[in-house]
């Protein structure tokens, strides 16, 4: 019981130290990591835990981001946390509205239906430029400080403050999802992945459980989107609703390790790192990403997180063989 506490404290200490050790540039990188990781974990709830592949998760991310942008632009004086939570709730609401259609389908049909809804939202938001600003998007609103009256007031334009805001919300969100997978409902969710019919026969509410998962996953994707909006101080159709926004967390899950809870976080980090490294050769960046996806699928299907396990297995085998040789000698 003690070890996890130590680990957690250590991780928190490292996280807290980052903005003071690194400059604003790398602190911002960590903010992006927080957003990407939260988004990827929310999608992973569907993919690894419910067995549903979505091609339209940008829908929730986009609703959260546009929600935050619209609220902060039009409702001045609203506390920032309320604005962000309302935006996430809006995304959850979208999940709720779509769930009657989404719960009915599985496998590729589910993938395609999510693709259709994601693209529909993309096209609609591009069309309604009066509200969304189209490609130009919404930008330049004044973000209120993160404040508790009389106690503190943090200007979120400062890299350090936005860092704690984003990383804090991302950690809370990821923790909430982690506990969700441990609840009885989380177990039902995994059973649905393994055998939906059997769960149904056992008397569990498959439809209801799925609907709750869509809302839950949508909520945290929306939260990621809202934090994105606050961090960038801008939201545009291409930036938050494009199909590549849906693909990004999928890649993170794959690279990190599908079927695990923490893989997507690792994957998000690795992808950001890759982007940083290839920045010097922008003409080759996409080519390198493409090659890496191909290589991961072909040679490391468990993702980077399985690499440690493989290494450990290899090491154990080596140690065992050496021992065996020594005892022989």
């Amino acid at each position: 019981m003690k070890r996890p506490v130590v680990w957690l404290a250590g991780a928190l200490a490292v996280l807290a130290a980052i903005p003071f050790v690194f400059g604003p540039l790398h602190t911002n990188l960590m903010v992006r990591l927080a957003i990407e990781a939260l988004f990827a974990v929310s999608l992973n709830l569907l993919l690894s835990y419910t067995g549903l592949l979505s091609f339209g998760h940008a829908l929730y991310f986009g609703v959260g981001a546009y929600g935050a942008a619209l609220i902060l632009t039009h409702l001045q004086g609203i506390p920032i946390l309320v604005a962000v939570l309302l935006s996430a709730l809006a995304a959850a609401l979208v999940g709720l509205v779509l769930s009657p259609l989404l719960v009915r389908v599985r496998a590729t049909a589910f993938t395609m239906l999510t693709l259709a809804f994601g693209q529909l939202m993309f096209v609609l938001c591009s069309k309604f430029r009066e509200v969304t600003g189209g490609e130009d998007g919404i930008m330049g609103w004044t973000t209120p400080p993160l404040a508790l009256p009389g106690l503190f007031s943090l200007d979120l334009r400062q890299p350090v403050n936005i860092y704690f805001f984003a990383v804090g919300l991302a950690c809370l969100g990821i923790l909430a999802m982690w506990f969700f997978t441990k609840t009885p409902m989380g177990s039902v969710m995994i059973s649905i992945r393994d055998n939906q019919k059997r769960v149904d026969y056992l008397g569990y509410q498959v439809v209801l459980t799925k609907a709750v998962i869509f809302c839950f996953s949508g909520f945290f994707a929306g939260l990621a989107g809202a934090v994105y909006a606050v961090f960038n101080n801008l939201v545009s159709v291409g930036g938050v609703l494009h199909i590549m926004v849906s693909f990004q967390p999928l890649m993170a899950i794959l690279v990190g390790g599908i079927g695990t809870f923490f893989g997507p976080i690792l994957g998000s980090g690795l992808l950001l790192l890759l982007e940083e490294v290839t920045q010097a050769y922008p003409e080759l960046a996409l080519m390198i990403s493409g090659v890496i996806f191909i290589l991961v699928v072909m040679f490391l299907p468990g993702g980077a997180i399985s690499f440690g396990a493989r290494l450990r297995a290899w090491w154990r085998k080596r140690a065992y063989l050496r021992k065996a040789r020594e005892s022989e000698a």
């Binding site: 999928l250 890649m251 599908i258 080519m287 493409g290 996806f293 991961v296 699928v297």
Partner: protein
């Protein structure tokens, strides 16, 4: 014919021509899906690559007909290599369909960048072959011959495909493998080779479409993006794996596009995805599909 009727007739033929081109792209996609359960995201990239190969062959030989022959074969060969050396391994990884999806996404990224390194980023042009240039009179309407040629070409490919699928032993095996690959394999058929050939055939069709489209479009690295997405919609609406469904859906979307632009241009792109969502919501297998 009154000018108004002429206009509607023209829109009707436009819809037919674009629909048939779309079918040419989508039929390869649906064939691969029906047979192997793979949604090939790189299909649009194959289409684009074929248009670039067409530019090169045209530059070397000066013959459009030769490029129509060679470029799709090059793409088919690439498809076969991708299937044999990459997809087969991905399918064995035990990650399910996400492995194939991400692998083909990776292939499409690599192709788009490779094309830029080989042919540059500038848009390239292919001319309509002189035999097909010009206009023909259809009941008073002057219509470009080349667009009619696209319709004819698609029909020929459709006919060839039907011939192979319904009149040959290979076709019987393919159709059997679509409904039950395990059983076909148990009967002693080497399904792996069949899969490889089908993937090659599907890629070849994307290639034919790429060469067919090149003379009316500027050849540039993003050429396959939009048509790839449209073809996706066709496959989904028509029903995964259903050739007949793809044909109907492609024609319907082609006409929806043409008359959508005529009557409600503001909502034209919204129509397609609304229709797709509507179909899926009420018939998750698509209009004529049996497999989810």
């Amino acid at each position: 014919m009154s000018p108004e009727t002429q206009m509607y007739l023209a829109q009707g033929i436009h819809g037919l021509a674009y629909g048939m081109l779309l079918f040419l792209v989508a039929s390869g996609l649906t064939l691969i899906f029906g047979m192997m359960g793979i949604l090939n995201i790189a299909h649009g990239a194959f289409f684009m690559l074929s248009a670039y190969l067409c530019v090169t062959v045209l530059g070397a030989t000066g013959s459009y007909w030769l490029s129509l022959l060679i470029a799709p074969l090059g793409v088919a060969l690439l498809g076969i290599l991708v299937e044999r050396f990459m997809l087969r391994r991905a399918q064995a990884s035990g990650m399910g369909h996400i492995a194939e999806l991400l692998l083909t996404l990776g292939v499409s990224l690599v192709l788009a960048e490779a094309v830029k390194l080989t042919w540059g980023t500038e848009g390239l042009q292919v001319n309509v072959p002189s035999a097909l240039a010009g206009l023909v009179n259809i009941a008073g309407l002057e219509y470009p011959i080349y667009r009619l040629f696209i319709i004819v070409l698609s029909l020929v490919v459709l006919a060839l495909l039907s011939l192979v699928l319904f009149k040959t032993r290979l076709g019987t095996i393919v159709r059997a493998a679509v409904s039950d690959p395990g059983m076909v394999s148990a009967l002693g058929v080497n399904t792996q080779i069949v899969f490889m050939l089908v993937f090659g055939l599907g890629s070849w069709m994307a290639g034919v479409a790429g060469v067919a489209a090149a003379p009316i479009l500027t050849v540039f690295p993003g050429l396959g993006d939009q048509i790839g997405m449209d073809a996706f919609v066709v496959v989904v609406v028509g029903g995964f794996g259903s050739l007949f469904g793809a044909l109907l859906a492609a024609l319907f979307l082609g006409e929806l596009n043409a008359f959508g632009i005529q009557f409600i241009p503001k909502l034209s792109p919204v129509l397609m995805f609304s229709f797709m969502a509507l179909v899926l919501a009420f018939k998750p297998t698509g209009l004529f599909g049996e497999r989810e």
